[in-house]
């Protein structure tokens, strides 16, 4: 979202994408991301995207090649995390990628971060605002 409109957190979000394009960090997300971005842009409270721009957003997300379907093991992890933390599968799918990949889950969603209480999730989330990636 923050790659396409200038709003709270756009600067670190764009910097993160820039680092990815330079091959300095890897970005990996469930395919759900595309549906959530499409829906959030379509129903954005302020920004009005044209059809051309909406198609461009989806094209660029596809071109960045950062989304994929979860593996069987990631699905299993997502279900476990959903049960252990009382979070939705939509939330758990993202966290499962981070747990399985031993990576950090960058998010601007403070609600999700406060809901993650199980041991395996403790080290995973990092708020976009806390991301120290320079510039």
């Amino acid at each position: 979202m923050k790659w396409y409109v200038e709003e709270k957190g756009s600067r670190p979000a764009r910097r993160l994408r820039e680092l990815f394009q330079q091959g300095k960090v890897d970005l990996d997300a469930p395919s759900l991301l595309k549906y959530e971005v499409a829906s959030a842009l379509r129903f954005h409270a302020v920004a009005r995207f044209t059809l051309r721009q909406l198609r461009g957003v989806m094209e660029s997300l596809e071109g960045l090649q950062i989304t994929r379907e979860p593996s069987d093991r990631e699905w299993a992890t997502a279900f476990t995390l959903s049960l252990d933390n009382q979070i939705s599968i939509y939330d758990a799918a993202y966290v499962a990628f981070a747990v399985h990949g031993r990576s950090r889950m960058v998010t601007a969603d403070t609600v999700l971060v406060t809901r993650l209480k199980s041991a395996e999730t403790r080290q995973r989330p990092i708020l976009l605002a806390d991301l120290d990636i320079g510039r």
Binding site: E6, K8, S10, F43, H44, R48, Q53, E62
Partner: protein, 98 residues
């Protein structure tokens, strides 16, 4: 068939590993190696020229939106949270019609 792989760790780490007897360290390492292989494969498989073109396309849309709206005092993360809550409806079971 499992192959034997030897890794070296500092003495301090070895002592810490011994303290945590319930952990199957071979399984932990297998998972870590598997995750790293998947990461490397993803990175190698990416068409980086396409990635850069997609980045430029995203930048172009961003610039158009900035020229139209400027800075928007809003956090889209809240929109996504709203829709996730709507879809999961407070984690209750899906109501049945009969």
């Amino acid at each position: 068939m499992l192959a034997l792989v030897t890794i070296r760790v500092p003495d301090r780490l070895r002592r810490e590993m011994r303290k945590v007897k319930s952990v199957n360290w071979s399984a932990v390492l297998r998972d870590a190696i598997q995750a790293r292989i998947e990461l490397e494969q993803r990175s190698t498989a990416r068409d980086w020229e396409r990635v850069r073109a997609a980045g430029a396309q995203a930048d172009a849309i961003y610039k158009e939106m900035v020229s139209k709206h400027g800075y928007i005092d809003f956090d889209s993360a809240e929109t996504i949270r709203y829709w996730r809550e709507m879809r999961s409806r407070g984690m209750s079971q899906t109501p049945q019609s009969r």
